[in-house]
């Protein structure tokens, strides 16, 4: 297969970033005591 028969790479394609999941946040409320 010829190299030239491959579809051209999309120059606008966005590589998915391998980012860690954002931290979950819960909220707790206590008296200071």
């Amino acid at each position: 297969m010829s190299l030239f028969s491959r579809p051209a790479a999309d120059p606008d394609a966005v590589e998915p970033l391998d980012l860690p999941a954002p931290p979950q946040v819960s909220t707790a409320t206590f008296a200071l005591g």
Binding site: P23, Q24, V25, S26, T27, A28, T29, F30, A31, L32, G33
Partner: protein
């Protein structure tokens, strides 16, 4: 993740330190439950005061303001454990309604005390060190 102090549990509109009404001084904590559980926070809460003594005022009473049934159960279980070990617990268990942020001069209190003393004396207290760490990280 983050913590701030304020007033909760009462009905007084827009409470302030000098016009607290029927509110209680509280701490509100944003936390990641995959790092620390609500039950562990309750344990810290009970380690930092004496819930077996009745409070002298609404301002300083012992209270847990739960938001979900799971939190209510976790608090009830913790109270039952302590009562089985040391006797009656005076901690109120109430549904969370509102949190009114306290004035800025009450936030990061230990850290501000240390800064206010010119950071001298025998060095910062453990509370001031913890507060400095939290302030540095914007918590």
């Amino acid at each position: 993740v983050k913590a701030r102090v304020g007033y909760s549990g009462g009905t007084t509109f827009a409470p302030t330190y000098h016009r607290l009404g029927d509110h209680t001084e509280t701490i509100q904590i944003d936390y990641d439950p995959s790092v620390i559980s609500y039950g562990e926070l309750i344990d810290v809460f009970f380690q930092n005061h004496t819930p077996t003594h009745p409070s002298h005022s609404v301002q300083y009473r012992s209270a847990i303001f739960y938001r979900t049934e799971d939190e209510r159960r976790a608090a009830e279980e913790a109270i039952a454990r302590i009562e089985a070990a040391v006797g009656h617990v005076y901690t109120a268990l109430e549904p969370f309604r509102a949190f009114h942020l306290a004035e800025d001069y009450h936030q990061k209190y230990y850290f501000k005390q240390w800064i206010g003393r010119g950071q001298q004396a025998k060095g910062p207290s453990p509370q001031a060190l913890r507060a400095a760490f939290c302030a540095w990280y914007g918590a």
